[in-house]
């Protein structure tokens, strides 16, 4: 496969994998905290938070990308402020991570929230009477009992991030070696004469990655189901 893919193909594939993995890694702690809050606490504005959470799913991705540019672009107040410290996201691969994280975040939070909701809170109460404070209850009871949902959320968010196109191209454009992810590379190849073999190659690669993600999700679910049956 090394010879079968061109150097540019490899570049796009590795960038996409890096962007997708990092977007999940960085958004997971925030998603866990937010999902726990939504599942276990009623607070003023919780309905508004839930509504805002859905926005990236409903808005056209290009609009989300534009919103990121308006917020984090070099001329935007926040982007300008961050640039003073050398932190720049627009037109950088790190910006692609932000775009992918934003697009995958609702799927991650919703999956984890459903998983938290399914945990019997009476077990958490039992842990509390045994001296466990909130953090220990979360780490030793809530999280282990909802791991399947958390893992499923990670796979969904990874898949969403790996396929991300609209928000990414709006926010960080198409810079070879920097922001040209696999979907953007496919799009570009579709628009150049003689690009079809490349489109086929990269589409096949995308299919293989998608199959691997789906298989890992099934394995995770299978493992947990096996444990659940045994403990029933």
């Amino acid at each position: 496969m090394a010879d079968w893919l061109s150097a540019q193909d490899w570049q796009a594939l590795i960038l996409s994998l890096r962007v997708a993995v990092l977007s999940v890694v960085f958004s997971l702690p925030i998603a866990l905290a937010l999902a726990w809050l939504l599942s276990r606490r009623r607070f003023p504005g919780s309905t508004l938070v839930e509504a805002l959470l859905f926005l990236p799913l409903i808005l056209p991705p290009v609009v989300t990308g534009y919103a990121l540019l308006a917020l984090l672009g070099r001329n935007a107040p926040l982007g300008h402020f961050l640039a003073e410290f050398g932190i720049v996201f627009a037109f950088r691969w790190t910006g692609a991570v932000i775009a992918a994280a934003v697009m995958g975040f609702p799927l991650l939070v919703l999956s984890i929230r459903v998983a938290f909701d399914s945990v019997d809170t009476r077990l958490e109460a039992a842990a509390e009477t045994l001296g466990a404070r909130a953090w220990r209850r979360f780490v030793t009871i809530t999280l282990p009992l909802s791991l399947r949902g958390v893992a499923a959320g990670c796979v969904l968010a990874f898949a969403r991030a790996f396929g991300e196109f609209g928000a990414t191209i709006s926010f960080v454009s198409n810079i070879p070696g920097e922001t040209r992810t696999l979907p953007i590379a496919i799009y570009e190849l579709l628009n150049v004469p003689g690009g079809m073999p490349g489109v086929h190659r990269l589409s096949l690669v995308a299919l293989l990655v998608a199959l691997a993600a789906a298989a890992s999700a099934t394995l995770i679910a299978g493992g947990s189901l096996w444990r659940r049956r045994r403990d029933a």
């Binding site: 039992a126 842990a127 509390e128 009477t129 045994l130 466990a132 404070r133 009871i141 403990d231």
Partner: protein, 230 residues
């Protein structure tokens, strides 16, 4: 030993209970829906009553007038729930040690003592899902004891068990009472459990306390038919 006064409104019950007791083993006796479990939840810190004061061995756990409400995790109350509530992802050893890890200054019983008292050694590596009802309750009792509790709350610990398992769990509880002497509050609607374990009985009916008796008076009342029994 235990001073309790609570007022609270639940969905279908107005709870208004107040009593003091110096008994080592106290029973809350009444029919389903009398508010027995709510009293236990208030002592454990899982229910915050509208008004109330709970003092256990001189330690104020709750005093709504003074704004005191000790967190459930800091009350050191061993709670054995009606449904056991064992952690399904941990084996018996993991369940037993869960509270022991939280409270390192254990003084009620060590792991080996509890394992021996409740005959749990053969079950140590099994998951809760593979245990019988009686075994599950023994693990739940052991888990509560190993958290070094100042008091042990038993919420209908023999409900749902067949006769032999009930007898077995009752034997274990009597053994615990003899050998460990930790203050125990037993919720039940079975008079024979009161007779077998309690030193004193508080009678509850529809959220109100209707009497407080010694075991002897309770048994005498049972024989004369003046106490409603299950």
């Amino acid at each position: 030993m235990l001073e309790l006064s609570i007022r609270h409104t639940l969905d279908d019950l107005d709870l208004d209970v107040a009593f003091n007791s110096d008994a080592r083993t106290l029973a809350l006796f009444g029919d389903s829906g009398a508010g027995k479990t709510s009293v236990l939840n208030a002592i454990a810190g899982l229910l915050v009553p509208r008004e109330g004061r709970i003092v256990l061995d001189g330690r104020v756990l709750l005093d709504t007038a003074a704004g005191i409400d000790v967190a459930a995790s800091d009350r050191r109350i061993g709670y054995v729930f009606q449904d056991g509530r064992l952690f399904p992802h941990l084996d018996v050893r993991g369940n037993l040690l869960y509270g022991a890890r939280s409270q390192r200054n254990g003084d009620v019983a060590d792991f080996d003592t509890v394992l021996a008292l409740l005959e749990l050694a053969p079950l140590a590596s099994r998951k809760p899902g593979t245990l019988s009802g009686g075994e599950r309750q023994r693990v739940a009792i052991g888990r509560a004891l190993l958290a070094s509790p100042r008091a042990l709350l038993l919420d209908e610990p023999m409900t749902g068990l067949h006769l032999e398992a009930r007898r077995q769990v009752l034997d274990y509880l009597q053994r615990l009472k003899r050998e460990l002497g930790v203050f125990t509050l037993l919720v039940t609607h079975h008079a024979e459990e009161v007779a077998a374990l309690a030193d004193e009985v508080v009678l509850l009916d529809e959220g109100r306390m209707t009497g407080q008796r010694t075991r002897a008076a309770f048994i005498a009342g049972r024989e004369s038919g003046s106490v409603a029994l299950a």
